[in-house]
């Protein structure tokens, strides 16, 4: 799918299938790009560029099964471009999921904010690789990245690789990555208050992944909630 957002225009696109996206956002234009996956996704690439003072808000809610691979490369090509990225992914059973996301600041005064949240259950594997690259001469750019994964079961694994590449001095950059394992003490604590193991897990998964739901309409929100409950067997 090719998306062109013209000068001063605002577009909102919802993607629910396996299609790759190319976009360009013209001066002063803005694009809201939402992805929600309930069925398998194989290989998705997202490539796009932002012009002067263009805005991108990308939201990804991934509740797919099986193997999932997503590649996103977003170029902040002109002054004042501003992009946010929020992703939530739930990996269960033997899912293998990998998300590679990069933001490249080619000009100064550009801003990027990337947040990836994930939960890995059963024997699944979830990997977030994020790169924020500030090129030379992209002065006063501001780039942030955070990744949080919680791993439940001993056969499940999670990995977060947050990379900052900074080739200019006069910039602001931050990154944070946490991969936490749910331990027996957490579960015991929740169970000691009357929650079954499944209820306890669902509560934690919801805590991580539900915030993404508010970006979608009620129909999709309900589907997300239902999916969380199903995947935790409540």
């Amino acid at each position: 799918m090719n998306i062109k957002v013209k000068q001063n225009e605002t577009k909102e696109i919802l993607v629910e299938d396996n299609s790759s996206i190319n976009f360009s956002i013209a001066e002063n234009a803005s694009l809201i790009l939402k992805f929600v996956f309930f069925s398998p996704i194989k290989n998705i690439s997202i490539n796009g560029e932002l012009k002067k003072k263009a805005k991108l808000k990308a939201v990804v809610a991934d509740f797919s099964n099986g193997e999932a691979k997503m590649n996103a490369k977003i170029l902040l090509n002109e002054e004042g471009a501003n992009a946010t990225w929020d992703l939530a992914s739930l990996a269960t059973k033997k899912d293998q999921k990998q998300f590679d996301i990069s933001f490249i600041h080619n000009k100064g005064n550009t801003k990027a904010d990337m947040n990836n949240y994930g939960v890995a259950l059963n024997a699944s594997r979830l990997v977030f690789s994020g790169t924020n690259h500030i090129q030379k001469k992209a002065k006063k750019s501001n780039t942030n990245q955070s990744a949080k994964i919680i791993v439940f079961d001993k056969d499940a694994s999670g990995k977060a690789n947050p990379i900052l590449r900074i080739d200019e001095n006069d910039v602001l950059a931050s990154h944070a990555a946490v991969v936490g394992r749910l331990n027996d003490e957490h579960l015991f604590y929740l169970k000691s208050r009357g929650l079954t193991e499944e209820e306890a897990k669902a509560l934690i998964v919801s805590g991580y992944l539900k915030p993404i739901a508010k970006n979608f309409d009620t129909n999709i929100q309900n589907k997300i909630n239902k999916m969380i409950m199903e995947k935790c067997h409540v």
């Binding site: 015991f188 208050r193 009357g194």
Partner: protein, 269 residues
């Protein structure tokens, strides 16, 4: 009426024996001080009653209101009305405090509460605990100070209305105002019918909640079960006199430092 009855309970943690035949009967309405040197099995007893998977019962029985609870899951024990206020409550990542409280209240109701009823009850409990209501929107115990965690334990006790509350060093980490506040709420629940089994190393808390019984645990056994004046004596004299009067050796090998419980020692090996 008997509430909790423990007979000849033997418990191991990672193969190490910690309880060596605990026998204790709690009557409804009891308010019991559980005393004993560090590392002699007090917390282990609580964990075993609650059903923590690391604590293996090798012998003996636990009944609650005449029901054998040894084979029940942790959540089933909780739903029967047993509450454990932990010494070190876990910080649970990602879980919103008020979501958590709503869930634990709803699982013991036939029908979920309306949001309005829930917020009313929650607001009342926060007021009673003199905690700012903003705590409801933070993550469960995440970034809470020691004292805030303990208040959050008592808040849960208020909302869950247990038949038996076991409180493990609920006063540690609390400042003086905090101890007074927590004691006030413990007394309130006791008046409403909650039986109490309370571990503390300090007479201050017991002066405020006035137990009717004091029980002393040494070497993984109950060695004394008597009047509350035991608390004063132990506060003044420590545990040495027990050794002489009862002619028992107090096993010091288990004690590494203040605040080290027997289980931690076992797990380190």
């Amino acid at each position: 009426m008997k509430s909790l009855v423990i007979k000849n309970l033997h418990v191991t943690v990672d193969g190490k024996k910690i309880l060596n035949g605990v026998t204790l009967a709690i009557n409804e309405g009891d308010n019991i001080a559980l005393l004993g040197p560090n590392g002699h099995g007090k917390s282990t007893l609580f964990m075993s009653i609650m059903g923590h998977p690391k604590y293996h019962i090798t012998q003996g029985s636990i009944t609650f209101n005449n029901k054998d609870i040894k084979k029940l899951s942790v959540d089933e024990r909780s739903k029967l009305g047993i509450f454990l206020g932990l010494q070190n409550p876990s910080e649970v990542p990602g879980v919103n405090n008020s979501d958590f409280l709503k869930n634990i209240m709803n699982v013991r109701r036939d029908k979920p509460m309306s949001l309005f009823t829930f917020y009313k009850e929650l607001e009342k409990a926060y007021q009673e605990m003199e905690m700012p209501f903003e705590f409801a929107n933070r993550n469960l115990n995440e970034g809470f100070s020691g004292g805030e965690k303990k208040r959050n334990e008592i808040l849960q006790m208020l909302l869950l209305n247990p038949k038996l509350a076991m409180l493990d060093e609920i006063d540690s980490g609390l400042d003086v105002d905090g101890i007074n506040q927590v004691a006030k709420m413990i007394n309130k629940k006791h008046k409403e019918g909650t039986s109490l089994l309370v571990i503390s190393h300090y007479a201050r808390l017991f002066n405020l909640i006035k137990p009717n019984r004091a029980v002393v645990m040494v070497n993984g056994k109950i060695v004394l079960d008597g009047k509350p004046d035991l608390i004063k004596r132990i506060d003044k004299e420590g545990y040495e006199w027990i050794k002489n009067e009862l002619k028992i050796e107090i096993n010091k090998k288990q004690v590494h430092s203040i605040g080290t419980c027997a289980t931690k020692v076992a797990l380190k090996k």
